[in-house]
């Protein structure tokens, strides 16, 4: 059986060759993942395993660095570096702070994804 990331050979439409510059947050996410990796807390195999474990829904709905971020969160909990409660509390705190400073600008569908 194919797992969600195993798409080699499946029918798909034309390749869109346009370039896409990374956003600042995507660069941050890449740098954070690299720094955690350099500490020996997330190898490329662990990253791959964590991304694959996010399931088909995540493969379809999330963008590339959203998957990386979800995988990093999962890996930090599984490694015992962070707890899910700590992450949830910090997410709520960051969200409030960004809302207070006017930096948060979410669509309703994004806001629904908040825990």
């Amino acid at each position: 059986m194919r797992t969600p990331q195993d798409i080699g050979g499946l029918p798909e439409g034309p390749v869109d060759p346009s370039e896409h510059m990374l956003n600042f947050w995507e660069k941050q996410a890449d740098g954070l993942r690299a720094a955690v990796g350099a500490k020996g807390l997330m190898s490329s195999h662990e990253s791959r395993r964590a991304i694959e474990s996010l399931g088909e829904d995540a493969m379809e709905r999330l963008t590339y660095y959203e998957r990386w971020t979800a995988a990093l969160s999962l890996q930090m909990v599984e490694r015992g570096v962070l707890t899910q409660d700590e992450i949830d509390a910090k997410v709520a705190q960051v969200r409030q702070r960004l809302a207070d400073t006017g930096e948060l600008e979410m669509t309703p569908s994004e806001a629904e994804k908040l825990p």
Binding site: Q5, D6, I7, G8, G9, L10, P11, E12, G13, V15, D16, P17, S18, E19, H20, L22, N23, F24, W25, K27, Q28, D30, G31, L32, A34, A35, V36, A38, K39, L41, S44, H45, R48, I51, E60, R61, L62, T63, Y64, Y65, E66, T69, A70, S73, L82, I87, K90, V91, V94, R95, L98, E103, L104, E105, M106, T107, P108, E110, K113, L114
Partner: protein, 214 residues
């Protein structure tokens, strides 16, 4: 999926749906995962797992790596037969010789010739020789490229404007977390008088992925 996505490029479909959206301003946070990313960074810094400086250094390092690195490797292989032999023998050692150390993955260089063309993909995700080419382009990570280039590579190459005649063998290399591939394109005719730097300037990112020729 929500339809009112004005000035918001996260339409949560596939990576390849994004490129036409303008870059979003950096001063607004639009998605839950952006918040999660900020939260993870702050927690990991508070706990002393990483420092803000380390994260910044990795971002700067990533920004500093461009396909010019890979182009230097290719140009050296074109002008120096002994280097070329070392590159195909041990890609990591040959890249390190030019100041591009690659750790944790094995670099395999594959050579285009008049009768063989090579193209690289990572069907499972996005493995790529980042130390030589920088971050992969969006299309390399797209479902369409990953799914199709292993089944109908000539058609995919045609979409990039690369027409291979039927008597040229086409080899598709599927990357893994352990093995990364670098295509060494054919040296263009009429470049006998160019020096190494001028040759390197001819070598494009797409020619080192294998979707283009020079």
């Amino acid at each position: 999926m929500n339809s009112d996505h004005h000035h918001h490029d996260h339409d949560h479909d596939h990576d390849h749906d994004h490129p036409h959206a303008p870059p979003q301003p950096d001063d607004k946070v639009h998605s839950y995962y952006q918040i999660l990313s900020i939260a993870l960074k702050e927690l990991l810094i508070e706990k002393g797992v990483v420092t803000a400086a380390q994260v910044r250094q990795f971002i700067e390092k990533r920004d500093s790596i461009t396909p010019a690195n890979g182009a230097k490797v290719v140009a050296r292989a074109w002008v120096d037969p002994a280097y070329r032999a070392r590159l195909f023998e041990d890609g990591n050692a040959a890249a390190a010789e030019l100041g591009f150390p690659i750790t944790g993955t094995k670099l395999v260089a594959v050579e285009n010739t008049p009768d063989t063309h090579n193209v690289v993909v990572c069907t499972l995700c996005s493995c790529y020789p980042r130390d030589l080419l920088g971050l992969p382009p969006a299309w390399y990570k797209s479902r369409a490229y990953r799914a199709r280039v292993v089944r109908e590579p000539r058609a995919v190459l045609r979409e990039f404007g690369t027409e291979l005649s039927d008597d040229v063998a086409l080899r598709v290399h599927d990357s893994t977390a352990d093995i990364r591939f670098l295509v060494v394109p054919q040296r263009p005719a009429g470049t006998e008088n160019l020096d190494e730097d001028a040759l390197a300037a001819l070598v494009t990112r797409d020619s080192m992925i294998g979707v283009a020729r020079i």
